[in-house]
């Protein structure tokens, strides 16, 4: 059994809002092992990005607060570290790339300067060595003429190139964990395929664990070893990517997969819809958060939040209809 890089247990994050307390993350648990790619998938507002911010200690507080659970990273509980200690980890052992490569790079510094800054901050090397490292990283992420590109400002590069610079910066300190929050949403599909190829290649070569946050089940299929499906602040299904995609247990996961327009589907049939919209997090009842939209809902669903029921040794979903399901040996 490989020791996980990251082990999140029963994480709870609350936000104080005008309409009461929102349980933004409610009892989140998952692990990521070295070299593994975990996909976190769900619709806007389900808590995907908030999970990433919790790991990095970037929850805006107030109004947000971690009210329970632990985030174990290499034997340390990140929820207990000081701001100064977290600063050493952020950008060092844990790196992040964001959705918008234009706004996450500083427009008044060259790409090389920005990567070199991260290197000097975390590795304490000379400016010259840091610059050399920046060029080396730009080359590693497939940027042509890296010596020249290191002197380019972000606006001089295309969207795909900018995202490569972000990845180069994130990887410059050899992180153990890389969190990629919708890294290709702003990019074209052919460029997305290039970025995916780059991330996949890097984790196989360096053993960096990756958390890929996405709303796109297609991206999950292309990239993930295992998946956590989130809905209204909870992980409602988790398991190996193949198991979740081929034999989804939760009605929400099934609905999400069915509603994707597919190239190989019958174009004359209407798309199966999930009726309604995601509930407000301040407005959740006692029961299953998906119950108001669920075709299979019964009275019992309204009574209490369903626990995870196992579907196999490593695949489970939080739906009472799975209770008593016979687990294949």
């Amino acid at each position: 059994m490989v020791e996980p890089v990251l082990d999140i247990r029963n994480l709870k994050v609350d936000f104080a809002t005008r309409n009461g307390v929102a349980h933004v993350l409610d009892d989140i648990s998952f692990t990521v092992e070295p070299g593994e790619l975990l996909g976190i998938v769900g619709e806007s507002g389900c808590g995907k990005s908030m999970t990433a911010l919790s790991i990095l200690g970037l929850i805006p507080s107030p109004p947000g607060k971690i009210v329970g659970g632990s985030i174990n990273f290499q034997g340390r509980d990140l929820t207990k570290l000081s701001q100064a200690e977290m600063r050493k980890i952020r950008g060092g052992d844990i790196a992040m790339i964001f959705q918008e490569p234009m706004t996450s790079l500083n427009p008044v510094f060259t790409c090389g300067e920005q990567i070199a800054e991260a290197v000097r901050l975390h590795q304490g090397v000379s400016p010259k060595a840091a610059r050399a490292r920046a060029v080396e990283m730009l080359r590693a992420v497939g940027i042509p003429e890296p010596e020249m590109r290191a002197d380019a400002y972000p606006h001089q590069l295309s969207g795909g190139m900018r995202q490569r610079v972000m990845i180069a910066m994130a990887l410059s300190c050899e992180p153990k964990l890389l969190i990629a929050d919708e890294p290709t949403t702003a990019l074209d599909v052919t460029v997305q395929a290039q970025i995916f190829g780059l991330l996949d290649d890097l984790r196989r070569r360096t053993g960096t664990a990756i958390i890929l946050i996405t709303h796109d089940m297609g991206a999950i299929a292309e990239m993930a070893d295992k998946v956590a499906v989130m809905y209204a602040g909870r992980v409602i299904e988790r398991g190996p990517a193949d198991a979740v995609l081929d034999d989804p247990g939760h009605p929400y996961t099934r609905g999400l997969l069915a509603s994707i327009p597919r190239i190989d589907a019958d174009p004359d049939a209407d798309l199966p819809e999930i009726p309604g919209i995601v509930p407000a997090l301040t407005d959740l009842g006692r029961g299953c958060a998906f119950e108001p939209r669920c075709k299979l809902a019964v009275d019992r669903c309204r009574l209490a939040q369903p626990p995870h029921f196992p579907m196999s040794s490593d695949h489970s979903a939080a739906c009472i209809h799975l209770e008593g399901r016979v687990i294949p040996a």
């Binding site: 619709e43 806007s44 295309s158 969207g159 795909g160 190139m161 074209d188 599909v189 052919t190 460029v191 997305q192 395929a193 290039q194 970025i195 995916f196 190829g197 991330l199 996949d200 290649d201 709303h215 796109d216 089940m217 297609g218 991206a219 299929a221 292309e222 990239m223 993930a224 070893d225 990517a241 193949d242 995609l245 081929d246 609905g255 999400l256 997969l257 509603s259 994707i260 327009p261 597919r262 190239i263 190989d264 589907a265 174009p267 209407d270 798309l271 199966p272 819809e273 999930i274 009726p275 919209i277 995601v278």
Partner: protein
């Protein structure tokens, strides 16, 4: 050929400093028969949105013709153009910025009727309620403001506004790309239902191949301002002829088992060339996996490959 919309050799060039110009749309032709949907797919900068805007007369047409059922949309101006406007309407990509946040929904949907003086003013409020019902919203929501709606509901409001003038043609520019997938399915089904019920003709711009496969009868693929392939939807997916179409389909993320953990499946390297300094030959040659010397010198024409399929490739 009985086409409702006919576009011939459409060009939209934007001047940029020192006498250069961006060839945003560079010789695009297509027809859409009444009651059918043409999809235009392509990546950012391919000119698909500019094509849509030019058809709507919202981008300046440099050359070429746009004809809507006998009305020469590309050459009329002023009052004549205004009179023709009710017949072609548009639904925009961003459901947040395309609705005036200070107007109530009733006034947003009513506005095209007021501006174009359609129907009896006394009947317009009733018509607003009908339109809301038609797009699946409760009429009593008409007194709310846009921010009180979700993204999917806002896109329904945008659709109701487009339907208000009883158009023949609706141009959609990425109408579902800002929506979550479960909501996207609701809006796509609505768009199809409206066409079944009213015989509307659609020009549908999207970068999502799954979406166009689901919505469109015919698909045109654009690259750097030109159509590189056009065919009925089923054929273009079953047997894409242009290397760019092939790469686009290969790169589209899919749930299919053979796509699992393949790490993106990138076929193309690099980015498209600049639309200012266009290459002499085929515009795709610099990224094309099968380009030969001839491709770099002679631009290929869009030509019939089969009875229904056209491609602009020397090697197709």
């Amino acid at each position: 050929m009985n086409a409702l919309l006919s576009v011939r050799d459409l060009k939209v060039h934007f001047p940029v400093g020192k006498g250069g110009s961006i060839h945003a749309v560079d010789g695009v032709s297509f027809d859409i028969p009444r009651g059918k949907t043409l999809g235009i797919v392509g990546e950012s900068g391919s000119g698909k949105t500019t094509t849509a805007l030019a058809v709507m007369r919202l981008a300046p047409i440099t050359a070429g013709k746009v004809d809507l059922d006998g009305t020469p949309v590309s050459s009329i101006e002023g009052e004549e153009l205004r009179k023709a406007r009710p017949r072609f309407q548009m639904v925009f990509q961003d459901p947040f910025s395309s609705l005036n946040p200070r107007d109530r929904v009733a006034s947003i949907i009513r506005q095209p009727m007021d501006l174009l003086n359609l129907g009896n003013p006394a009947d317009r409020d009733l018509r607003v309620e009908e339109l809301l019902q038609q797009v699946g919203l409760r009429p009593e929501l008409k007194s709310l403001y846009p921010h009180q709606f979700s993204g999917g509901q806002r896109q329904r409001i945008g659709l109701a506004r487009a339907l208000a003038t009883q158009p023949d043609l609706i141009v959609f520019d990425e109408p579902v790309s800002a929506l979550d997938v479960a909501v996207q399915a609701q809006v796509l089904n609505l768009i199809r239902r409206l066409q079944r019920e009213t015989g509307l003709t659609y020009l549908f711009i999207s970068h999502d191949l799954g979406v166009v496969r689901h919505i469109c009868d015919e698909i045109a693929v654009m690259y750097l301002g030109q159509v590189v392939e056009e065919a009925p939807a089923a054929e273009i997916f079953a047997s894409p002829r242009h290397p760019y179409t092939q790469a686009l389909i290969a790169a589209a993320p899919s749930l299919a088992p053979e796509h699992r953990r393949r790490g993106g499946g990138a076929k193309l390297q690099g980015d498209p060339p600049s639309p200012i300094n266009l290459p002499k030959g085929c515009r795709f040659a610099s990224r094309c996996p099968i380009a030969i010397d001839h491709c770099r010198h002679v631009p290929p024409e869009l030509r019939p490959i089969t009875e229904t399929q056209m491609a602009a490739c020397h090697l197709a």
